[in-house]
Structures are given as C-alpha cells and as structure tokens.
C-alpha cells in the first residue's frame, strides 16, 4: 500500500487517538506541574480621623478573574504536588524513615499516608487476584472440557456473565449479597456464629471481599482463553502420554500445562494491567474507607464541587508510570512476535 493511500485510510482513527488520548496525556503532564492561581490580593489603607489608619487586605475579584481567564492552566509550581502529603509525601517519608527504629514501624507510618495506603491495597489486590484468576480459570477450563458436549454451551453462557457484566453492576450485585442483611452476609454470620459480623466494618474482610469480586469478575476471561487453548491441544500427544502410562495429574502437568503456557502468560499480563487500575468495585462496595486505589483517588479528586485538577493530574501521571512498568513485558513480547513473523 502506498504511503499516501495509507494516510487516507488511517487518518480518521489517528486523529481521534491523537486528539483524545495523546493530547490528554500531555495535558495531564502539564497540569500536574501547575496549580490554580492564588487570588490577587489588594491592600487598602483606610484612614479615619481619631482612630487612625488600618490596612485591610481584600481579594481583588476582577484581577483574579482576569488572571484566571488569561492563563486557565494556573501557575507553574514544578514537582510540588508530587511531593505533597497526598501523593509521594517525600518529606513525610523521610521523616518517618529517620524516626523509625525498625522496618515494621516505618511501614506502619507509611500506611498512614494516603498514597502508600492506596499502593498497598492496589499491589495486594493485583498480585493476589492475578494468580487466583489464572488458577480458577484453568481449573474451570479443564473441568468444562471434560463435560458432556450438550451442556458445554450452557456452562459457557453462564460463565461469560460475570465477565461481560458492567463492573459497577457486578460489584453491586455481590455487595448486596454480602451485606450483613443479605443472603451471603447472613450465611457468613451463621457459619462463624457471630450475629454482629459485618464485612463492611473491617478492613481485612473488605479487602477479601474486593479480592473475591476481582476473581469472580475476571476468572471467566481466563477460562474462555484456556478453554479455547484446550481445543487446539493435539489429541495424539495426550494419547501418547496415556499409552506411556501417565496418570491424569501427570498428563495435565506434562502435556496440557506446557501447551497452555503462552496463554497463561498472556492472561497474567493482561490481568496485571487490569487489576492495577482497580476502581469500580471500590465505588460499588462503598469501600473507600478501607481500601483506595490510585484510580479511586483520581475519581475522588475530580468529582464533587471542587475539581482538584492538579492533584488528579499528578495521581494520573503516577498511575501512567505504574501501568507503563507493568506494560513493558507485553511490549517486549509484541515486538518479538512481530520480528519473528517478519523473518
């Protein structure tokens, strides 16, 4: 295809992506080093006879508005927002490092800083949910593959539902069930014989609930991928293993698993990125008191009456950096695949 024809075909989609993905990323970067203008203050000296003169400071509304209209982006403040308490909290971290006698104490102090608390949850969530999704998806795929042909379709239909459902809606559906008055909530109270047990009240239980949601939502994705992979498993390989007297576990271990390995790494990489941006379940579970994520911080900064664009932008930049780190292996893999194909 000629370059000029390519440009004609590609320009609409390129334009959309440049305008609404590339520019916003730049805009976020710029905003994260700017803060809203301070109000312009004027000092007015009023002198009254006998009392004397007083200097009053007031906001010059007009000048402030002019300044804001002239430069809506605000004033340049460098990396100040990144280092403030709501983000990387550099001075607080230094302070707690020097004042702590051991690591335990240091981490406890870190846990009081919002950014590190959110990172703690996000990383715990990401690195627990991802392997669980792979394991559950693999087990279900093996299981469904062994079912009778006729009911496979039905099982696949129901399996797709948690994955296809709107994340917020899926989270709400689970949340209402684990409510202390909901069916699962009552069941848990009954199992532990504690009528006051509430998943919403404790941080640990809330994290577990969120992780359960994460696995429930994403396991079907892993299942579908692995299930499709199982269909391409060459039957003669399995038969050869059976003739050699391999037990069922050995067949899975030495034949099925190696065959699915590329898919396992694919699912794991996608899941790492998806789980890192965990957001909707925190809203759906109303869990922000116990668990926050970077995405939730951005949402929280942007919502409400005061839109804290600078703070949200700084968190966005930090999130983008995190996602990029997780993305590097995927990029390497894509590059390698392409180069191999090109050979």
């Amino acid at each position: 295809m000629k370059h000029s024809t390519f440009i004609w075909f590609f320009s609409p989609t390129a334009l959309a992506m440049i305008l609404f993905i590339a520019f916003p990323i730049v805009s976020v970067l710029v905003q994260s080093v700017h803060a809203p203008h301070k109000a312009v203050l004027v000092e007015v000296e009023t002198c009254t006879p006998l009392v004397g003169c007083t200097i009053e400071t007031s906001i010059d509304q007009e000048a402030t508005r002019e300044l804001r209209e002239e430069k809506p982006i605000g004033r340049f403040i460098g990396l100040e927002i990144f280092s403030d308490r709501g983000h990387l909290a550099i001075s607080e971290v230094k302070e707690s490092w020097s004042s702590s006698t051991n690591l335990n104490e240091f981490f406890k102090k870190l846990g009081n800083l919002p950014f590190y608390r959110a990172m703690a949850f996000t990383l715990t969530f990401t690195f627990i949910v991802t392997p669980l999704v792979v394991i559950v998806g693999f087990l279900v795929a093996l299981n469904v593959n062994a079912l009778h042909e006729r009911i496979k379709g039905v099982v696949v239909f129901f399996s797709l539902l948690p994955f296809v459902i709107t994340p917020l809606i899926g989270a709400l559906v689970l949340f209402w069930m684990i409510d202390s008055r909901g069916v699962l909530g009552s069941a848990i109270q009954w199992i532990f014989a504690d009528p006051n047990l509430s998943l919403k009240a404790s941080t640990g239980l809330m994290w577990i609930s969120l992780i359960v949601y994460g696995v429930w939502h994403a396991a079907p994705f892993a299942f579908v991928i692995f299930y499709a992979g199982l269909q391409t498993l060459p039957a003669d390989q399995l038969e050869a293993a059976q003739i050699d007297g391999a037990t069922r576990t050995q067949q899975v271990r030495y034949v099925v698993l190696p065959h699915l390995m590329p898919l396992v790494s694919f699912v794991a990489l996608i899941q790492l990125m998806d789980n890192f941006r965990v957001f909707e379940p925190i809203v759906g579970f109303n869990a922000s008191a116990h668990a926050q994520s970077l995405s939730w911080f951005i949402f929280n900064d942007l919502g409400g009456e005061t839109r804290q664009l600078s703070s949200a932008s700084a968190t966005s930049v930090l999130t983008i950096i995190g996602v990029t780190i997780l993305l590097l292996p995927v990029l390497r893999r894509t590059w390698r695949d392409f180069m191999e194909k090109a050979k």
Binding site: F6, P12, V155, S159, A228, V283
Partner: protein, 293 residues
C-alpha cells in the same frame, strides 16, 4: 480425547459434575438472586429476620398482598425517570459503535495491508494507549472541555469513547483483515481498481464476521464504562451506569434501595440478551486477542 473419556471412572465423573455445578452456582447465582429479589420489598431483600423471606416474600405479601411487586421498577423507571438514562445509554452506544467501526475498519485495513515498519510502531502505540486507564485521561479533558463549553453533553462523551475504543478496535480488525487473503484485493487492483474501490467491492462484502465481533466489544466498552461517563456527563445527560452510582448516594439515605436494585437488573438485562445471541462471537473475539498476543 475419546480414549480419555472412556477411561474416566465413575467417581471422577461425579467430582467433575459437582465442580461444574459449583462453578455455575458461583457464576450465575448472584444474578438469579438479585433478579428474584428485585421484585420484593427492601425488608425482604435485606432481611434482618430470616433470609428465607427473600425467597417467599413475607413482607412483600404483607405490604402488597402478593409475593411479587414491581414497586422498585416503578420507582426507578417512573419516579426517578430511569428511562431517560436508558435512552441516553443507547444513543451513546449506537453512535460509539457506528463511528468506531467506520474509522476503525479503514485504519485496521490499512494496517493489515501496509508492509512498512511504521505499521508496527503504530500498533505498539495503540497498545500503549489501550493500557492507559481511561480515568487517567479524564483530568486532561476537563480543562479544555470547560473552556470550549462542550462538557456534559452526549456528543463529547461519544467522541471520547470512540477514541478510547480505537486502539482495541484497530488491533482486533487488524488481525481479522490479516486473515483475509491479500490476493483478493491485489487482484482487484490489478484489474484497475483503486485501493479504496478494491476495499469497497472486495473486502467489505467479506469482512462482516470480524466487524460484528469487534462491534460487540465496542458496545460492551461503551455500555460498561463508568469512569468517562460519570465524569464527562452532566446530571441531565447521564447514562445508566453513572445514574446507578448516583442512585446509591441518594437512595441509601432515602431508603429506596429497591430502586437501585431494579435499575441494576434493568441495566444488566440487555447484556444477558447480548451474550445469549452472540456467545460464539464473544468467545472468538476474546480468543483472537489471545492468539495474536
């Protein structure tokens, strides 16, 4: 696999079916339960007295004389005017799917037919864009949209969702077009067609399976989005998902939780129908992504 199934023992077969039943329960029970409960009153759905009330609807009978009531749906759809949000959602989804498929098909086709190095760079760029959480982009939209006075309206959200959709659409359609033999449009070009005419006459008639699959995923992205729609739409223009989130804030205080439950069931229903009719396409779309990496 016939050999394996013949040798499967009875006990193993029982375990397999128990496990399958358990998985079905985990995957489907929350939906069945919520659907059933949406026709009850709040005191049955969230029952302090006895969880079986949610099944039998004891309080619902006491209040309405029958075990089922559509009070939640009436409250959500009529009193809270949820139908407006439903219409908004379908407007947004329709235009997002149409626009992103139109420009995505052209772009994906070009990527699959151009052998130059820059196609790889463009695909990698699309992959990076795809990985960006949409909510990180929102703070970049706010200021310009306020300045141009386009914040809060449906067209803005549609364009943003189309753009966010593009990387995925490009990847998906790129791999579909690669499976259509190049010889088809090459021979049309030899016969004197321009590239565009070859695309129109030769490729368009055979591309529909791929386009439909990609369209399904575009629809799901637009339909399921919460981050963009909740941030970029004003109160009057909300789609279903941000409206449900807004319900939560108000209904928990007013005691109208059943409105939210009814709204959730209403918003989930179209997705069920979608999976029912397009199960095969969704599965093939998911696996196409996996195979291509």
């Amino acid at each position: 696999m016939t050999l394996a199934s013949k040798r499967r023992s009875v006990s193993l077969r029982i375990i397999i079916y128990i496990f399958a039943a358990l998985w079905l329960l985990i995957a489907a029970f929350p939906f069945v339960w919520t659907f059933w409960g949406s026709f009850k009153v709040e005191l049955d759905f969230f029952s302090v007295a006895n969880w079986t009330n949610a099944l039998t609807g004891e309080r619902t009978i006491a209040e309405y004389g029958q075990p089922f009531t559509d009070a939640g749906y009436e409250g959500a759809w009529i009193k809270e005017e949820f139908w407006r949000n439903v219409i908004n959602t379908f407007i947004v989804c329709f235009f997002v799917v149409c626009t992103s498929l139109t420009i995505g098909t052209l772009g994906g086709y070009a990527l699959s037919r151009s052998g130059y190095r820059y196609t790889l760079i463009l695909l990698i760029a699309a992959l990076i864009f795809r990985a960006m959480p949409p909510i990180t982009l929102v703070s970049g939209y706010m200021l310009p949209f306020f300045e141009w006075n386009v914040w809060g309206i449906l067209p803005t959200t549609i364009i943003v969702l189309v753009a966010i959709n593009q990387p995925f659409t490009l990847w998906m359609l790129h791999s579909f077009f690669q499976n259509i033999p190049k010889e088809l449009d090459e021979s049309a070009k030899v016969d004197g067609c321009s590239q565009f005419k070859a695309f129109r006459l030769v490729i368009i008639p055979v591309m529909w399976p791929g386009v439909i699959t990609t369209g399904l995923f575009s629809f799901l992205l637009a339909y399921n989005d919460f981050a963009i729609t909740s941030m970029l739409l004003s109160e009057d223009n909300r789609t279903m998902v941000p409206q449900i989130a807004a319900f939560l804030g108000t209904t928990y205080t007013e005691g109208n939780v059943m409105f939210a439950v009814a709204a959730v069931v209403s918003a989930a229903a179209p997705l069920f129908i979608l999976v029912m009719f397009f199960q095969r396409q969704i599965v093939s779309g998911l696996t196409a992504g996996a195979v291509k990496g």
